[in-house]
């Protein structure tokens, strides 16, 4: 007799526990307001990334097309993957001195692991992260980017 009671108890407990689970899923089914899906490409306009989001490395230029990169190569040294390559040139400043300056700051997005060491160690704060995250391109060569804009110059007062 006792075993039959145990048997029935087992069944009742089992069904009850199953109902508990169904309660959870059922309650979500009838509450569509809890849906968390974002319709991504449609909500591009409203989608705001956090300001610290590490999208890709950029070199901010001001309106006079000037940047802060002196071409010291510390970012290149600190990069663990060889993402950054700096090609420098020698220019003659206004007062006639010869000076090393940056020709091309090459950044290979495909190799970057977003460790932020370059941005962190740059002595003149020339690099920053942008919030763009849509990096997909059809040609791998497009992932190799030159960060300084053509014709740009070193900002005044940055050594």
């Amino acid at each position: 007799m006792r075993s039959i009671i145990e048997y029935l108890k087992e069944i009742v407990f089992g069904v009850w526990s199953l109902m508990q689970g169904m309660k959870v899923t059922g309650s979500y089914f009838f509450r569509p307001s809890t849906i968390v899906t974002q319709k991504y490409p449609d909500n591009r306009k409203e989608l705001v990334m956090y300001e610290r989001f590490k999208g890709e490395v950029v070199m901010p230029h001001n309106e006079k097309n000037e940047h802060k990169c002196t071409g010291c190569g510390i970012c290149e040294l600190n990069c663990p993957n060889g993402t950054i390559e700096i090609i420098s040139k020698t220019i003659v400043t206004e007062d006639g001195k010869k000076k090393k300056a940056i020709d091309k700051h090459i950044y290979r997005l495909g190799m970057c692991t977003f460790c932020a060491l370059c941005v962190k160690t740059c002595p003149s704060n020339a690099l920053a992260f942008s919030q763009g995250f849509e990096h997909a391109v059809f040609n791998r060569a497009l992932l190799i980017k030159t960060l300084n804009k053509p014709g740009s110059q070193l900002m005044k007062g940055v050594e």
Binding site: I11, L18, G21, M22, V24, T25, G26, Y28, F29, P32, T34, I35, V36, T37, K39
Partner: protein
């Protein structure tokens, strides 16, 4: 009777007799077969596609998602897009597979579904055949699908497929018993195996209400065991995604895979409609004994709507199970059948027989 406005008997008989007048009996039978075949095929495709969409939406809402929402408004054309994709997908030939059986398996699965549909009464007078052993026929035919599953698993030359097929064989053979016994309970109550008679007997109350607790228990057992028979979660051991990748249809691609996929949903539809027919009154409207006005209003809802509504209620229950519970293990699955469902069922049949004998049912 008011719901005779929705009676299709005269309509179908008119088609039959006019065909008889025009042709010889042989050609009449052939024409009727073709008409019914085409209709069932279309019905199959439409219901299959809709169920896939419904399942996706239901599970998405249960999981706090939106589900398909790109193709068409609310993504209603998503399954059609998927079907078109599946039609164009390459059929990958499997090395060392038994080609004949490999190609045969999806058809067996699908044909089993077709045959079962034939006996289901969609509305008053709207069914392909009204056999006097309808329930037996449905049980017999719906278990034919397992042959397809076994063939698919065996001929794929894949170890996962074989394990899946063997599991499916063990599972369906065991759960067949419970399905049968659960239906027998109602057959005892109705006194007939003819589906149209069973529906007709529920005119003044569905069997789930008429048959006291035994009918309700039979309904629950039928739900559980028919879920198992259609290889759906939590009994989807035959395909057990996280263990056997896709079980018996691992090696299938393209339209052959689509057949299996469609057959799964059709089987669900068939067992749901059997449940609706036998326990929930089929196309019979919902009646409450003495409320004549209420019953009258209910009668004006077409029987086809009643039938579809009940079927989809059962399908929703089955989806709810699938998306809530974890999967059982094969030995637990068999334990559930042999240690719980079967004994309860046997006792249930006895009680029901006793109730009918004493005339204690409504």
């Amino acid at each position: 009777m008011p719901f005779d406005i929705y009676n299709f008997t005269s309509f179908t008989q008119w088609i039959d007799s006019s065909l008889h007048n025009a042709m010889s009996p042989f050609w009449t039978a052939l024409t009727e077969m073709v008409i019914i075949g085409v209709l069932v095929l279309m019905f199959y495709a439409v219901v299959g596609l809709f169920l896939v969409y419904a399942e996706r939406k239901v599970c998405a809402f249960m999981q706090n998602r939106l589900g398909p929402n790109r193709v068409g408004p609310f993504g209603i054309f998503q399954t059609i897009a998927d079907l078109v994709k599946l039609l164009f997908v390459e059929l990958i030939p499997i090395k060392n597979a038994d080609g004949f059986l490999f190609n045969l398996a999806p058809f067996i699965v699908i044909i089993a579904g077709f045959m079962a549909i034939a006996a289901i009464p969609f509305a008053n007078g709207l069914h392909a055949i009204d056999m006097n052993i309808g329930v037996l026929y449905v049980i017999a035919v719906s278990s034919m699908g397992v042959i397809g599953v076994l063939l698919a698993g065996w001929s794929s030359n894949n170890k996962y497929s074989l394990i899946g097929a063997m599991r499916s064989g063990a599972q369906i053979i065991s759960y067949e018993l419970s399905v049968g016994l659960a239906l027998i309970t109602i057959v005892i109550l109705a006194g007939s195996m003819q589906l149209s008679v069973i529906v007709e007997a529920q005119r003044d109350g569905w069997f789930i209400f008429k048959g006291h607790i035994p009918a309700f228990i039979a309904f629950i057992i039928f739900l559980i065991s028919s879920t198992a028979e259609t290889n759906r979660g939590p009994f989807d051991l035959a395909e057990a995604e996280s263990e056997l990748t896709a079980g018996y249809h691992t090696e299938y691609s393209g339209i052959k895979f689509a057949f299996f996929f469609l057959a799964e949903y059709m089987n669900m539809f068939i067992v749901a409609s059997i449940a609706a027919t036998i326990f929930l009154g089929g196309w019979m409207p919902f009646h409450v004994g003495p409320w004549v006005g209420f019953n009258h209003i209910m009668d004006f809802i077409p029987p086809f709507v009643w039938y579809i509504g009940k079927t989809f209620f059962v399908i929703f229950l089955m989806m709810w199970f699938k998306w809530t519970f974890p999967r059982l293990r094969i030995d637990q699955l068999l334990t559930l059948e042999w240690k719980y469902l079967l004994p309860i069922n046997l006792v249930n049949v006895l009680i029901m027989a006793f109730l009918v004998l004493m005339g204690w049912h409504f």
